[in-house]
Symmetry: C2
Subunit: 331 residues, 2 copies
């Protein structure tokens, strides 16, 4: 299998991206194509043990930065690592594209290079969200701020297909984010989408409230990109804030400090359970190719795991599952 | 000062509500009018030391339950504690109404009994939200799922007036929830409201992302009732989930368990900082009277503190501040 990795994507690229790519090539026995400024990538590769690994470099002179306006950047930077990388997938020279870069940029580059899956109204950004019992899969988390009910229905189909084929969850429980359990609760958008979801043939469990998401009530959490983005960023901020408050209070007392030292291994496990690096990345759903986007602050392990997610998506037949699902259901 | 307390409101009413009311009457030296089923209230009062306190009972035979549809319940139950209590405020027999009951019911009863402040398009539910540095004030958290930009502007004026007059924050920083910092980010609603807020004369700091809320970037966080409700419930659920995960991991190791015992006082302080009981309740803004709504799961301390919030709102001239603000700004 050949997977393209954006060597220039993420806050610590290229060093961390390249390191993660090398790690992935070794651990999964696949070819990882590194796309980016050849000289820089070669310099980073030289620092790694690459013996016996297949890590070709494809040169791309430009980089889409984290703060750039996605569509404009993709138009202006035809020789960016994202645009060049997507083209490799389009031409069948690789099976998936993985990036830790600007997620909006990845979406724009994917739409430009790969296009949408026939019948899909709007592609969505997704995320794997840690819950008390494990994790759930949430979409959209930022691609579409204003949605129509049919978009949310399609997000549900795509999310369920991904959860089933790639995450290995049989008959995933699908919920829609709302401000109350009853089906009469919610914005007009959510109420209308709720009715579509009831008739969808999916394992639809109804509305999920804010508190139900971390409790793990649903496997696939469907929402518009505005709400999903707020949920994802709030959760990350709140976890950091809470751990910060705990640290602050513990530091005030010498006894508590000793106690915290003793319980540190437990806290490390908590952090691991919440760590996005463990999940690696999540797919851009609805574009006609396997594209995995990881966190901008990804470390090498997260990059490696994002490549694993791409590999699983290819092996699990994610694209075919979405296409079949659409056809079966005539959405 | 006379404050009406809904003796039947909340998950543990009437015992907890009555206990909190007695506590408030003693601590703040005010008259607390208990409205509810006279016999039940009297029975609870008999368990408390009420010597020297002014705690009259006003009978109301019905109760608006937590799950009831607000508007329908208020229409059907004219002799409910909420409707009867609001009428006491309307007739000038008390200065404020406090309840731990159905917040939608309180809104409907307030609209029915007290009406809106002249010029206010939509009243809002609010909440005090714990942050790393302290707290912020957020609205709307559930009254209006679908909003217009002008509603959000009015929420901002009302929230700023409350933060200034009651919470004692000079020139509060007002932010609007969005999915990105830049003013071009956000749903159509948020982008339009952003433009109104820029010209509002308020200390508007722009968009706040999910992660910025627990970090305490804004003093007044403005959003529509759908998003606000999801944020409030998610935050509560996430904090509980995180503390649950910590407990689970700590329990797995005897050493960590000892450590956790040593650091327990610090954790208790963390819980206290996050505890809604400390904040008591938050106002229903935009109705023509002081109405404070607390958490359904409130304990007696939260009830007492909710009465304190009501007292401060009366003393701080919350209603006049909102009315003056509207007039000055010709919203």
């Amino acid at each position: 299998m050949k997977i393209v990795l954006d060597a220039m994507g993420g806050d610590y690229a290229p060093p961390v991206a390249v390191e993660g790519g090398v790690w992935a090539a070794r651990e999964y026995g696949i070819e990882v194509i590194l796309v980016g400024r050849e000289e820089e990538v070669r310099r980073e590769l030289a620092k790694c043990d690459t013996s016996g690994l297949s890590l070709p470099i494809v040169h791309a002179s430009q980089v889409i930065e984290m703060e750039e306006h996605p569509a404009a950047a993709v138009k202006a930077k035809k020789d960016s690592s994202m645009v060049v990388g997507m083209n490799l997938v389009k031409r069948g020279q690789a099976e998936a594209f993985v990036t830790m870069g600007n997620s909006g940029g990845a979406l724009a580059a994917a739409l430009f290079g790969l296009g949408r899956i026939r019948g899909i109204r709007r592609p969505a950004l997704s995320t794997v969200y840690p819950t008390t019992p494990g994790f759930c899969f949430m979409l959209d988390v930022g691609a579409n701020t204003d949605c129509k009910p049919e978009y949310l229905l399609q997000f549900a189909y795509m999310g369920a297909a991904y959860a089933e084929k790639v995450l290995g969850i049989a008959s995933p429980r699908v919920g829609i984010v709302s401000n109350g359990e009853e089906e009469t609760k919610g914005s007009i958008l959510v109420q209308e989408a709720h009715q579509l979801l009831k008739k969808s043939g999916l394992n639809f469990i109804g509305n999920v409230e804010g508190k139900d998401i971390p409790a793990g009530m649903a496997d696939v959490v469907v929402t518009d990109g505005f709400t999903g983005n707020v949920i994802a960023k709030l959760s990350e901020g709140l976890a950091a804030s809470l751990l910060g408050i705990i640290k602050e209070e513990v530091k005030k007392s010498p006894l508590a400090t000793v106690g915290a030292l003793l319980s540190k291994p437990a806290f490390d496990k908590v952090k691991k359970r919440l760590d996005y690096a463990e999940f690696g990345g999540a797919p851009l759903l609805g574009v006609d190719g396997v594209v995995i986007v990881g966190h901008g602050r990804s470390n090498a392990k997260a990059v490696k795991n994002a490549v694993r997610v791409a590999k699983r998506a290819v092996e699990g037949g994610m694209l075919a599952a979405i296409k079949d699902g659409l056809q079966d259901r005539r959405v």
